[in-house]
Amino acid sequence: MAGEIRITQDDIDSLATKLDNFSEALTNKERDVMSAIMRLAAGALESPSNQSRTSEMGTPEKSPGGRLSDGFRQAFEHGLGTTFRIRPGGAISHSIDGG
């Protein structure tokens, strides 16, 4: 429809890739200008009319809680995932319908 552009996540990712490559050729100042434009654009895209969009970033952060780096505290544990030591008997449906 005239005046309305439908933007998908793929469009944004592909533009971001091109801009990333392009930014190699920019001066520091030009990069700041580009970042500012990107911020404005991101703000516009995350306006209420675009809220139905989902992304790998999930729902945009609305109100920052604590400091981001707080999340690193106790993030690490030794070891990997675990499971029952005995071999599972079958699919879950078997225990539900008795089949």
Partner: protein
């Protein structure tokens, strides 16, 4: 020396095209296949003889392939030098075996005593092989024999040419291939009278025109690209044939390669063959046209990039699959045509082909592009990674960053594409810190495919570091030492050599690079273990766990929720700046807080930082998306 003016001929001549040791026996020669087709299209009777197959069978394909793969010593040429140069042989004493003892032991592992084995091959196997080929090939039926010579094929080709000229003086000999480019071809023709002609540059048009001239009694030396001796000088130098339109070329003919390999028992008869069929979709290099990588010996005049049309390429692959009963193809291109990402590759997906393709390509590919490549059947790539330092990559004019290289390794692994790559060092202007930083980075990449090794760059003829001494000041530039063990004294080694020894004025000494070599070795060894290192993330919405088994003996798990989980995923597709992360996460967050979070991931070895950009290192748990 008398000039090689041809006798008057009438009718198409009978031609034999020969591939001598040492070049891999596992695939046909595209040079032979293509020249056979172009000459046959002009009604010449052409046969190809992959005599490298015969020699591989005679000495054992294992050791044969190991000799083909030796990087420095030119063992293959040394083995045939005795037969080629006889009394003029420079190396009667076993100097060569002593000087290259460590290279030989490292490279040849399939026999117990490699030095003794090589001496036996040189003194007994080579003469026996040449006798057998003289007895077996239909020499009286041939009027012209063409040798293709690339890297280690000179001495073997000269050895056979000498015997043929002695036994059948009327046969015209012609040399072609990479060893005949530029000054190297001029010197070969000047120094070796058993070579009547050489075709330099693209032979697709020059070779059939040369045959036409011979057949009709015209002077073949008038054909652009043809060299010969005239009155003691080399005639035709500096005149190259014009580049051809690749769509006008016929497909290469490999029938005789397969017949021979099967007849010799190297390849068993089967309904389907797992043999890489060489194909050519482009020539030249679109990147090198703009920025010639400093170490690359691709000839300046051969740099002009041209590609086959998508339709033509698809037809060629389809008919080769049918004809040779193989679905495995190896592109001989220097670099993938990026337009194919929009044309050929989606078309192959659409057509549902099951090809397994190999391509060389430029390393700054995106996740999406790698997914497309894999879906289209690209199983193996050589992306010219060369370094994990953006500064070193700039010094070599590679046009990629360290983070882009790492990202290519990540998504290639994720999509199941095998990556072949090397680490290179020895660039003028490099600093110790450039390599210390790589040493620190490499253990964090243990879950990604390791390099084949870390090597000092070789100085190749035609490369900028060879041709532009003002920009790359070097001391003691001289032909690589192995050449003097091979060629007789009357050969100008500085003209026949492709590789040169040198010392750069401001490159690091070998001792400073021991660390990076050790790291590369350790990386490769860790991938040889039964359980390969891994770094994987499992994601839910706003929740992320990263399983770190890069050291399988000490695995650990990181758990992140909320914004940190989102940041990690946002930095996974490609390297991004803190500003981009903030714009995406929440423009109200202070930038330094975002940067601090990114640094937190780096401190834990879960991300890498390259200049202003950050890249997550783990790969998603669900493969192939």
């Amino acid at each position: 020396m008398k000039s090689a003016r041809p006798k008057t001929r009438s009718g198409p001549c009978r031609v034999g095209l020969i591939s001598m040791p040492f070049v891999s026996c596992f695939r046909p020669s595209i040079q032979l296949g293509l020249l056979k087709s172009v000459a046959a299209a002009r009604r010449f009777s052409v046969h190809t003889f992959h005599l490298n197959l015969d020699f591989a069978r005679q000495i054992g394909p294992g050791a044969y392939e190991e000799i083909c793969a030796v990087r420095r010593a030119f063992i293959g040429d040394w083995l045939f030098a005795g037969a080629a140069f006889g009394d003029a042989l420079p190396d009667r004493a076993p100097d060569f075996l002593t000087e290259y003892d460590s290279d030989i032991h490292a490279a040849i592992t399939s026999v117990d005593k490699p030095a003794e084995y090589l001496r036996t091959v040189r003194e007994a196997e080579v003469p026996q092989f040449l006798d057998a080929m003289m007895a077996e090939l239909p020499w009286p039926d041939l009027e012209v024999i063409g040798f293709t010579s690339t890297f280690q094929q000179n001495a073997a080709s000269l050895a056979l040419a000498k015997r043929v000229k002695r036994a059948h003086p009327s046969i015209v000999t012609v040399f072609g291939g990479a060893n005949v480019e530029g000054d190297m071809g001029v010197e070969l023709v000047r120094a070796f009278p058993d070579i009547d002609y050489a075709v330099t540059g693209e032979g697709d048009r020059a070779f059939p025109e040369f045959l036409d001239a011979l057949a009709s009694g015209r002077d073949p030396a008038t054909v652009a690209g043809v060299l010969c001796r005239r009155d003691g000088a080399v005639h035709g130098a500096g005149c190259r044939p014009a580049p051809v339109d690749l769509d006008t070329l016929p497909p290469p003919d490999y029938d005789e390669y397969f017949d021979r390999a099967e007849r010799l028992g190297l390849l068993s008869m089967a309904p389907r063959r797992h043999v890489g069929i060489p194909f050519e979709s482009s020539r030249g290099c679109w990147w090198g046209q703009k920025h010639h990588c400093t170490f690359c010996g691709l000839n300046g005049t051969g740099m002009a990039f041209r590609a086959k049309s998508p339709q033509r390429l698809r037809q060629e692959l389809a008919s080769a699959a049918r004809r040779y009963r193989s679905f495995t193809f190896e592109a001989v291109d220097n670099i993938l045509d990026m337009a194919y990402l929009r044309t050929v590759l989606p078309q192959l997906i659409e057509a549902g082909t099951d090809y397994e393709l190999f391509y060389e390509l430029k390393a700054n590919l995106t996740r999406e592009q790698l997914r497309l490549l894999r879906t289209a059947g690209v199983r193996q790539v050589q992306p010219g990674i060369e370094s994990l330092s953006t500064r070193i990559l700039r010094l070599m004019r590679k046009g990629a960053t360290a983070a882009q290289n790492v990202n290519t390794l990540r998504w290639a692994l994720y999509h199941g594409i095998t990556v072949w790559w090397n680490l290179l060092y020895g660039f003028p202007g490099e600093h110790r810190e450039d390599y210390l930083a790589q040493e620190r980075l490499m253990p964090l990449l243990a879950h990604l495919p390791p390099p084949n090794g870390a090597y000092r760059i070789r100085m190749e003829r035609f490369s900028p570091i060879f041709t532009d001494r003002a920009a790359f000041p070097a001391r003691q530039v001289r032909p690589q030492a192995s050449y003097r063990h091979i060629y007789p004294g009357h050969v100008a080694l500085d003209r026949i050599a492709y590789f040169f020894d040198y010392t750069f004025v401001d490159a690091l000494p070998e001792a400073d690079l021991a660390g990076i070599r050790r790291r590369a070795d350790a990386w490769r060894e860790s991938w040889a273990e039964p359980v390969a290192p891994s770094l994987t993330f499992h994601a839910a919405e706003d929740f992320l766990q990263i399983e770190d088994a890069r050291d399988p003996a000490q695995p650990g798990t990181y758990t992140f929720t909320g914004p940190l989980a989102r940041i990690y995923r946002f930095c996974s597709d490609r390297p991004v700046t803190p500003s981009a992360v903030r714009a995406r996460l929440n423009p109200d967050r202070p930038l330094d807080e975002v940067t601090e979070a990114l640094s937190g991931f780096c401190t834990r070895g879960l991300m890498m930082r390259d200049g202003e950009r950050y890249l997550s290192l783990a790969l998603p748990a669900t493969p192939g998306r």
